[in-house]
């Protein structure tokens, strides 16, 4: 994927390798001069001189691990650290918990520092970008050792670039339908729906039973909710884009994808009064369910405690079921959001890093499932997860979950708003699904193929 080299595009592409001559030497000299001036300035004003170097010659090296907030429960983390430190006598693990906001630039600069973190948890939509830009170690040959044959293929895809494994699947979370049992019962409904048509009928019943509440939605589906929209596309057998040789081809206008988009429009028209200009984040679906503006919403099961906190009367009143598909035998595929684990290319302790990564990716998957209720990376464990009623619907949705095209430029596609715009155009009726899909394809292809 040497797209960024753009061979033949530049009039002259002068590549200075580390071994070349005078120019680089001069630049280095200037850089050092300024750097020492700066260093002097800073040193003069510095008050503390702590040095967190992880190098100890001759002994076991320390380890820096970056985990995202809310992933690994504290007791599990303690166990992992202890096990690693016992196996590496004399070395210490420093776990830095990172917050999600701004994690892209943060991880970028951290991986480019002189002392990058050794093990890094990276969101799975971000991994391809880092793998492709040579920030991470190639772990392809370790796949067997990490139980790679048993991995959920959707998760594995997100960490693989050009056939090389840079991000080891860590965990995923899926969305399910959260529904208010009290409103459900009041409307005279009993069993969870098995098909999308049944769901539409249920939503209509709920809307009728709650006609007194302004803007009430049987199923709350805001216009910009592309994660939900794409679930329909994948659920009817379509996809966002496919690789044809070296180039991506947009597939939103394929017959199957269009079936999905049309089914989505029908569903939303009949089931939801949610504003077409809103995302699923504002207002939060927690607010919608807690305040009773909607009876159902498509969200992650870990939102349930938040809903109960907001409206204590709803304790135990929020149930879950997987978003039903077109037929009764499969659920609508859910987006497999999650994280991968990677080792920094510049890590000073890659052996120790690998040991830690292995613990997170194999031995401690089970506690993650049990305590944090996350979808594990292995299909075997997924089966056992299905037995746990708390995450059974999530597991069902994860079995054939979907993941956007794995490409370093996918972030640019999301930021270009093509998907939310397409959703809004279809749902407000501004464009017919076929036209909206065609226009979307053009943008997606342009962005992914870097033209």
């Amino acid at each position: 994927m040497d797209r960024w080299r753009r061979p033949g595009r530049g009039r002259y592409l002068l590549r200075l390798s580390p071994a070349s001559g005078l120019e680089r030497e001069h630049a280095v000299k200037v850089r050092h001069l300024v750097a020492s001036a700066l260093a002097a300035a800073v040193a003069i004003s510095m008050t503390s001189c702590s040095d967190s170097s992880s190098e100890k010659s001759g002994e076991a090296k320390d380890l820096t691990v970056w985990l995202m907030t809310g992933t690994v429960p504290d007791p599990v983390l303690k166990d992992i650290n202890k096990e690693w430190e016992d196996a590496h006598k004399g070395a210490k693990v420093k776990v830095e918990i990172q917050q999600w906001d701004g994690i892209g630039p943060k991880t970028t600069t951290a991986l480019g520092s002189n002392n990058p973190p050794d093990v890094v948890e990276i969101g799975n939509t971000l991994t391809a970008g880092f793998g492709d830009s040579k920030a991470l170690k190639d772990l392809t040959d370790k796949k067997g050792d990490l139980g790679g044959d048993d991995w959920n293929k959707g998760l594995e895809e997100s960490g693989t670039v050009d056939g090389k494994l840079y991000g080891v699947p860590f965990y995923a979370g899926t969305r399910v339908v959260l529904y208010r049992k009290d409103l459900w019962q009041k409307a005279g409904l009993t069993d969870p729906p098995k098909t999308i048509d049944e769901l539409t009928a249920a939503a209509a019943k709920l809307t009728a039973a709650n006609a007194a509440t302004k803007d009430f939605s049987g199923f709350y589906f805001p216009g910009k909710y592309w994660y939900a929209g794409m679930s329909f596309v994948y659920g009817y057998g379509g996809t966002i884009a496919e690789k044809d040789g070296d180039k991506w081809v947009g597939k939103l206008d394929s017959p199957d994808s269009l079936k999905g988009l049309e089914a989505m429009k029908t569903f939303v028209d009949n089931a939801s009064k949610a504003p077409k200009d809103a995302t699923e984040a504002d207002p939060t679906q927690v607010s919608i369910l807690a305040s009773g503006k909607g009876a159902m919403a498509y969200d992650a099961a870990w939102q349930i405690p938040a809903i109960e906190k907001e409206n204590p009367a709803l304790k135990g009143q929020i149930g879950t079921f997987a978003l039903p598909g077109p037929t009764a035998d499969t659920a609508m595929p859910a987006f497999l959001g999650g994280s991968n684990l990677a080792i920094a290319a510049g890590s000073k302790n890659s052996a120790g890093a690998y040991d830690y990564l292995k613990l997170l990716a194999t031995k401690y998957q089970k506690p993650l499932v049990e305590q944090a209720k996350l979808i594990p990376n292995s299909l075997t464990l997924l089966e056992t997860a299905k037995a746990d009623p708390a995450i059974a619907p999530n597991a069902a949705a994860a079995e054939n979950g979907w993941f956007p095209p794995t490409d370093p430029q996918w972030g640019a596609v999301e930021s270009s708003n093509v998907l939310t715009d397409t959703m809004v155009n279809i749902l407000t009726g501004k464009k017919a699904p076929a036209d909206a899909a065609k226009d979307a394809n053009a943008v997606i292809e342009k962005t992914l193929n870097g033209s």
């Binding site: 960024w4 080299r5 753009r6 595009r9 530049g10 009039r11 002259y12 592409l13 002068l14 590549r15 200075l16 390798s17 580390p18 680089r24 300024v34 001036a37 700066l38 300035a41 892209g104 630039p105 970028t108 991986l111 480019g112 970008g129 880092f130 492709d132 830009s133 040579k134 920030a135 803007d215 504003p275 077409k276 200009d277 809103a278 504002d282 207002p283 290319a345 510049g346 430029q409 972030g411 640019a412 930021s415 270009s416 708003n417 939310t420 715009d421 809004v424 407000t428």
Partner: protein
């Protein structure tokens, strides 16, 4: 011999510290020059260099240097660039005009108020100024929310419908109007406070003289206030143009440049290049182009301001 220096001193009309005068400006400037050279100048030089390189995350991690000539610049001008530029210019004119005109009015108001009311206005302005811009944008977005916004409701009462399909978020014009209001709202405090500070320095006697000549409020404003505060006015207008031209976070936080990317402003190129595509070479080229553009827009005023100093 000393004769020469003595006659020099005698012939100058200023006291004998003229020798010192030659050194002092540089001594006074030294701290700022050193600091800015190290922490602004040097990174800027690197930025300029990077703009001529292919510099994506890969080059950042591998620390290679790959020159690509003017590629980054050429890439920039293909596509929507000029349309976005025109859109930005229009929006900036509206923002600057609104800020300066209303800001001046508020400053004059503050000048004429008694102490307690002036403090009230000051506190109001400070609140608007100190609110983090992103939080402010979110609040304004809520106020204009098509289902639950307080401003939407108020406008509904007077007959302006922003609900359903008329939602602010479905029209780039409406989005940019509200964003302009947000920027004006947050920029007025600085303009008002700075002008007010300047107004307090205008000698009272000048106004009294104008009054005795029969000048009303407007006349004394244009013949006393504006000339006295001309340097400050020029500066505020120039700075407003520069800052508003670069403003982007409000547009992004409001509706992410939608609908259909029709409300994107020029600052988006910089943001996209640096934090979405992680194409730092391109981002640097964008920065250079923006500096050149802004310089072109404000060169006349900058020259005026520098010249004005020479009359002293």
């Amino acid at each position: 011999m000393s004769a020469g220096t003595v006659s020099k001193e005698r012939s100058s009309r200023r006291p004998s510290w003229r020798q010192v005068e030659r050194i002092t400006p540089f001594a006074l400037l030294a701290p700022s020059v050193i600091l800015m050279a190290l922490l602004l100048g040097y990174p800027l030089a690197r930025l300029l260099g990077i703009s001529f390189q292919q510099f994506t995350r890969t080059e950042f991690f591998t620390r290679e240097t790959i020159y690509s000539g003017l590629d980054n610049y050429v890439d920039l001008f293909t596509g929507d660039f000029f349309r976005v530029l025109v859109r930005t210019l229009i929006v900036v004119v509206a923002m600057v005009a609104g800020t300066v005109i209303i800001g001046t009015a508020v400053a004059v108001l503050m000048d004429k108020l008694g102490r307690p009311m002036r403090t009230l206005v000051l506190v109001g302005l400070l609140f608007a100024w100190a609110t983090p811009p992103l939080s402010a944008t979110v609040v304004w977005k809520w106020m204009f929310n098509s289902q639950s916004g307080i401003a939407t409701w108020a406008l509904d009462v007077v007959g302006v419908n922003l609900r359903g399909d008329n939602s602010v978020l479905f029209s780039a014009t409406k989005v940019l109007t509200v964003v302009t209001l947000i920027v004006i709202w947050q920029s007025i405090p600085f303009v008002a406070l700075t002008l007010y500070a300047g107004l307090t320095q205008v000698p009272r006697e000048l106004y009294e003289a104008a009054e005795m000549d029969g000048a009303g409020f407007w006349r004394s404003f244009t013949s006393v206030t504006v000339p006295m505060l001309k340097p400050i006015f020029l500066l505020l207008i120039t700075l407003s143009v520069i800052w508003d031209f670069r403003a982007f976070s409000q547009v992004w936080a409001f509706n992410r440049g939608g609908p259909d990317n029709e409300s994107l402003l020029l600052g988006s190129y910089s943001y996209f290049a640096s934090f979405v595509q992680y194409d730092f070479g391109r981002g640097s080229a964008v920065a250079v182009v923006m500096v050149l553009l802004l310089f072109g827009l404000t060169a006349y005023y900058v020259r005026q301001m520098i010249r004005s100093g020479e009359a002293t």
